[in-house]
């Protein structure tokens, strides 16, 4: 009975304040939307990854891999010796169709059948016979998208060549997404297309445990039998840092979102304190009142969260494009065409929104429900209470803040603790804000007392209404500080990468085989190219590198076999403190250099050893002489001197050349000359000036952080909605007061100015207060979260424009949010408002 009455009363309140209801819902919609979007994006890319690896590995239980591929003759022997085994040779690599990167996989159609990787349910429809030397199979969806039908020809590009291929058939399956971007060809064709010579990438097997044990014992030392899952694990581990970072960003948005939801909820409760007091006076129990407020919160957040989850789903469609791009840029070819939206995701988004709103509402509802009914009538009592509470809040804030700082600076490597520290610092600082706002406004009021009445009223009202203005300022501060923090983080990151590129790119120009995937150099240079460079008169010194993947005791890592320039140590990038001796050991003593993420992740340091699976000597131990700064991969990289490499591997090929021109040579002109000279050679190669690579690398960096930027703007959106509703409520609540002012003789313009000045001051205060918090957030993001998720250390650096744009952002957000109520109030009829109680 009472419940129905209370619910009706709440309903009427929101019907009378529709905009506020809309804003409360919108705040929740945006908060929930962002987090679900990231959740969906992460799970979709993981899912796509799982599906495509399922497609690539099929039913295989094990695989045989070598240090540099597997010799084809070994496969033939294996077949002959163990004719009963189910084994299948595989070659895979990235190719381009048009601008799109596809995974090309070469298989032996006859050995393939038991693996069921390509034809899950309709084997008869796949036309294996047509897989001759130019035929390729394409997934049905991809063929449709590219507008290709069977027997059409299309051109396929690899690192070294371009070739016409015929669409021999399409791959159909009950899970079409799994085969997105997958090209299948006969192994011989793929071998020649990807220039693998007589090497296979691996041999897939379906083995029982005993078979596996037997085979293991009979393998030569340069081959390994691995469970099929291990490769999948490695690839998952590669993107882990990236996904954690994305999650960190979304959690930050969530934190800001939760804070704003809390604010919105507090406001709607605060506004009705007197109403609640009346109800308490009539005899309604505080328990029922509490329940009614919570019921209201559940209803509002249910609506908001449902829409939010749907918005998240829409957002995910866009986010996934950005993240797929990054994964393709940095890690491996992944096609995510389908957004993966499960009931679990739906309900976790829902739960998140409702949970946050409930917690937020509980705090303010408890306060409202226990208030003495007489006191609630007196605004001054509320304000007085708040003012008394502020020092208590602030002291709690200091304690929480210090605890957060202690946690952040602790030596733990736990990512979770990093997040907790971040949260504590934000909450602790948030608790300090109302007191600081009060003090600052008091100071300002004193400074302006006796000046124009508009000015002193504008400053005075912030102080007098601190229970509301404090909330609004805190909300704005936290929202703005998170954008400042992210800005500083990206800026520092970019600056570090920029510096690192400058140190790493020592040559004037580089030559490599045009690549299919931007950061990977997968082709090798023809000897004629190397000869042409060696004999070039302009070139003073040449460095060379071969990029390959190497298996170690810790997993598979990208590796660079390097011949550095003479007298050009890359010592600058060695961050372990023994750079000179580390470099010496690298050049002379067969030592290797490992990248920072590898060192961090596996707790390795100079002096440790790493077991690497080599082609010639099988597993061999290498001494680590130093740790290199390296932002190219968060998974970890190895650098090994070419002389060392040659002792353990057969390959003598080179994938990149770096050239230093003679001092008197004009670099730009020399590069142009080389370009024309190389055009005449058989192999198409790309020659890039130092600056070009530098620029392109930064472009990839920027692309990687595109997602972060998008998330940051969404957070600003959430913040804006929060501020808007806070200021709207604040100003509309004072409509009667403003009407009295108008009746006393304040003009429309003056009223507009009064409200704008007030909000401007709140914006400015929030902007200034946001900077220390934002800086602290950036420090934690850089030195704790990113360090622990990617393993990269870097210097923090506050970009010049950041402080300025943060102040502008917070002032204009506040002004914009204050403008509507100001305009509305200055337009409305005075007589009408004077009647409103």
């Amino acid at each position: 009975m009472v419940a129905g009455y209370l619910l009706k009363s709440s309903f009427t309140f929101y019907r009378q304040h529709p905009l506020q209801l809309l804003l409360s819902v919108l705040g929740i919609v945006l908060g929930v939307g962002i987090v679900t979007a990231v959740l969906i994006t992460n799970s979709s890319s993981k899912r796509a990854f799982a599906l495509s690896s399922e497609a690539l590995y099929g039913k295989s239980t094990h695989q045989i891999v070598g240090a540099q591929g597997v010799d084809q003759r070994f496969y033939v022997n294996l077949r002959q010796q163990h004719s009963h085994l189910r084994i299948s040779p595989v070659i895979e690599g990235p190719v381009l169709i048009g601008d799109e990167v596809m995974s090309l996989i070469g298989i032996d159609p006859f050995a393939e059948v038991p693996f069921a990787r390509l034809t899950t349910n309709t084997p008869s429809e796949t036309n294996w016979d047509s897989l001759d030397f130019s035929g390729l199979l394409l997934s049905e969806l991809t063929a449709e998208r590219l507008n290709l039908s069977v027997n059409d020809t299309f051109s396929v590009r690899t690192a070294n060549q371009q070739r016409q291929a015929t669409l021999a058939g399409v791959l159909r399956s009950d899970n079409p997404a799994a085969r997105q971007g997958l090209l299948v060809g006969d192994i011989a064709m793929v071998q020649s297309l990807l220039q693998r010579g007589d090497k296979l990438d691996r041999i897939d097997l379906i083995l029982s445990d005993t078979e596996a044990r037997e085979l293991q014992d009979s393998l030569p030392s340069n081959l390994k039998l691995n469970p099929a899952a291990s490769r999948h694990q490695t690839m998952l581990a590669m993107t882990r840092g990236f996904q954690i970072n994305l999650t960190a960003m979304s959690l930050l948005s969530l934190l800001v979102g939760a804070f704003l939801i809390h604010n919105t909820m507090s406001f709607t409760v605060l506004q009705r304190r007197e109403l609640f007091a009346v109800k308490r006076t009539i005899g309604i129990q505080s328990r029922s009142l509490l329940a009614s407020i919570l019921g209201e919160a559940v209803l509002i957040s249910l609506v908001g969260s449902t829409i939010g989850v749907l918005l998240g789903w829409l957002l995910a469609q866009q986010l996934i494009k950005l993240t797929t791009q990054t994964i393709n840029d940095l890690y491996f070819v992944l096609h995510v065409q389908q957004v993966w939206f499960t009931p679990t995701l739906f309900f976790s988004g829902l739960l998140l929104g409702i949970g946050c709103s409930l917690i937020a509402a509980t705090l303010s509802a408890m306060d409202a429900a226990k208030t003495n009914p007489v006191q609630a009538h007196q605004r001054s009592a509320t304000e007085e209470q708040t003012r008394k509470l502020l020092p208590v809040l602030a002291s709690t804030g200091v304690v929480v803040l210090l605890f957060g700082v202690a946690l952040a600076t602790s030596t733990s490597q736990s990512l979770l603790l990093g997040f907790v520290a971040l949260m504590l610092i934000i909450v602790g600082y948030g608790l300090l804000l109302p007191l600081i706002s009060l003090r600052a406004s008091r100071f300002l009021k004193r400074a302006f007392s006796g000046s124009s009445p508009i000015l002193s009223m504008a400053t005075g009202s912030i102080e007098r209404n601190i229970s509301r203005t404090g909330l609004a300022i805190a909300a704005l501060t936290i929202a703005v500080s998170s954008t400042f923090g992210v800005d500083v983080m990206i800026g520092s990151f970019r600056q570090s990468v920029d510096q690192w590129l400058g140190n790493t790119l020592q040559s004037d120009a580089y030559i490599s085989v045009p690549t299919t995937v931007s950061t990977r150099t997968d082709g090798t240079l023809h000897p004629s190219v190397i000869a042409a460079i060696t004999n070039n008169d302009n070139v003073a010194s040449i460095s060379s590198g071969l990029k390959l993947k190497v298996r170690t005791a810790l997993g598979e890592f990208d590796t660079l076999a390097l011949v550095p320039h003479q007298n050009q140590p890359i010592g600058i990038n060695i961050i372990s403190d023994n750079s000179a001796s580390a470099w010496q050991a690298f050049i002379q003593d067969n030592a290797i250099l490992i990248s920072e993420p590898l060192a961090t992740k596996y707790n390795l340091a100079a002096g440790d050893t790493l077991s690497i699976f080599t082609e010639i000597h099988g597993d061999a131990n290498f001494k680590i002489s130093g740790v290199l700064r390296d932002y190219a991969s968060s998974h970890g990289q190895l650098t090994i001197h070419r002389n060392t490499f040659n002792q353990y591997w057969h390959s003598r090929s080179v994938s990149t050349l770096g050239m230093l021109y003679k001092d008197e040579v004009d670099a730009g002109q020399a590069t142009e000359e080389l370009r024309t000279q190389l055009l005449n050679l058989k192999q198409p190669v790309s020659i890039q000036a130092n600056s070009e690579i530098h620029k392109n690398s930064l472009a990839i960096f920027d692309r990687t952080f595109e997602v972060t930027r998008v998330l940051r703007w969404l957070t600003v959106g959430v913040a804006f909605v929060g501020i808007f509703s806070a200021l709207l409520a604040l100003n509309l609540e004072r409509a009667r007061e403003f009407a009295v002012l108008r009746a006393t003789g304040i003009s429309r313009l003056q009223l507009l100015m009064l409200i704008s000045l007030q909000t401007l001051w709140m914006g400015l205060l929030a902007g200034v207060l946001a900077i220390p918090l934002g800086w602290a957030m950036a420090e934690i993001l850089i030195h704790v979260i990113n360090q622990r998720s990617f393993g990269w250390s870097m210097q923090s650096f506050i970009p010049n424009h950041s402080i300025r744009s943060t102040l502008i952002l917070s002032c204009s957000a506040a002004l914009l949010a204050g403008l509507y109520p100001a305009w509305k109030l200055s337009k409305s009829k005075i007589a009408r408002q004077l009647r409103d109680e």
């Binding site: 007196q378 605004r379 001054s380 006796g450 124009s452 009445p453 002193s456 009223m457 005075g460 009202s461 007098r464 209404n465 009667r736 007061e737 009295v740 002012l741 108008r742 009746a743 006393t744 003789g745 304040i746 003009s747 429309r748 009829k829 005075i830 007589a831 004077l834 009647r835 109680e837």
Partner: protein, 246 residues
């Protein structure tokens, strides 16, 4: 801004209303509240308006105070035809020449007593020192000398009303409009406040229109008018005359 010529001599007209009609829209159906109302108030004259609740007294006061637009008829206040004034001219009229007192919620909660009272002076650009000079005797007169730093919400209802009166009078307006200024006070305090109001208005030579439910209040005015059927009629407010009840 001060483009309104005002003369406070007792034989000129402060308010001239003729043929005023006013209606509120209710469910798109106009509901007339004031019908062809005429009213003349001379300078320095005090007029009490009585009438049943809902008869349109506040509406009339709001129209005269240039807060409610004139729908039809002529309203001239202190020599200014209201229909001819734009918003900023109406604001200027209020600021310089009208003092307004309401039944409740009169004060700006974010300004202290001193600032509330001197607000009209600040608005017309009077210097701080002069404002204080004007404030002190007035504070004394309303008996709140020691309370100038207090904020409205710690004052009692009667004290708040006294502050409101001081604010309505500090800039010595030619016209004071009071809408049930003693409505929620006990009889004793109401009497004190009204005495104060009348005294100050007389001293300043202002005109006063006061809406009230109290016969006692009405009897202190020069004239008493009753709002009935959308029009004003002259009545004798002596308590013996029981011909009207409100």
């Amino acid at each position: 801004m001060n483009n309104t010529g005002v003369n406070k001599s007792s034989n000129t007209i402060a308010i001239a209303v003729s043929g005023l009609s006013h209606a509120y829209n209710r469910h798109t159906q106009p509901r007339p509240i004031i019908k062809h109302l005429d009213l003349t108030v001379k300078c320095q004259e005090s007029v009490a308006v009585v009438g049943r609740s809902g008869s349109g007294k506040s509406t009339l006061l709001n129209i005269i105070g240039a807060l409610e637009p004139v729908q039809s008829g002529d309203v001239s206040v202190l020599g200014n035809t209201l229909t001819g004034l734009n918003d900023s001219e109406r604001t200027a009229l209020r600021r310089h020449h009208i003092g307004y007192i309401y039944q409740s919620f009169n004060l700006i909660p974010t300004l202290n007593v001193a600032d509330n009272i001197t607000l009209p002076l600040a608005l017309i650009g009077v210097k701080t020192s002069q404002r204080t000079a004007a404030l002190l005797p007035l504070l004394d007169a309303i008996g709140l000398s020691g309370r100038s730093e207090d904020y409205p919400d710690v004052l009692s209802g009667g004290e708040q009303q006294r502050v409101a009166i001081a604010r309505a009078l500090i800039h010595q307006p030619a016209l004071v409009l009071a809408d049930e200024p003693t409505g929620n006070l006990d009889a004793q305090s109401g009497r004190v406040i009204l005495g104060l109001l009348n005294e100050l208005v007389t001293n300043q030579g202002s005109s006063l229109v006061i809406v009230t439910h109290s016969l006692e209040v009405a009897s202190q005015a020069n004239r008493t008018l009753i709002m009935r059927g959308g029009q004003l009629d002259e009545v004798d407010p002596s308590p013996v005359n029981g011909s009207f009840a409100w």
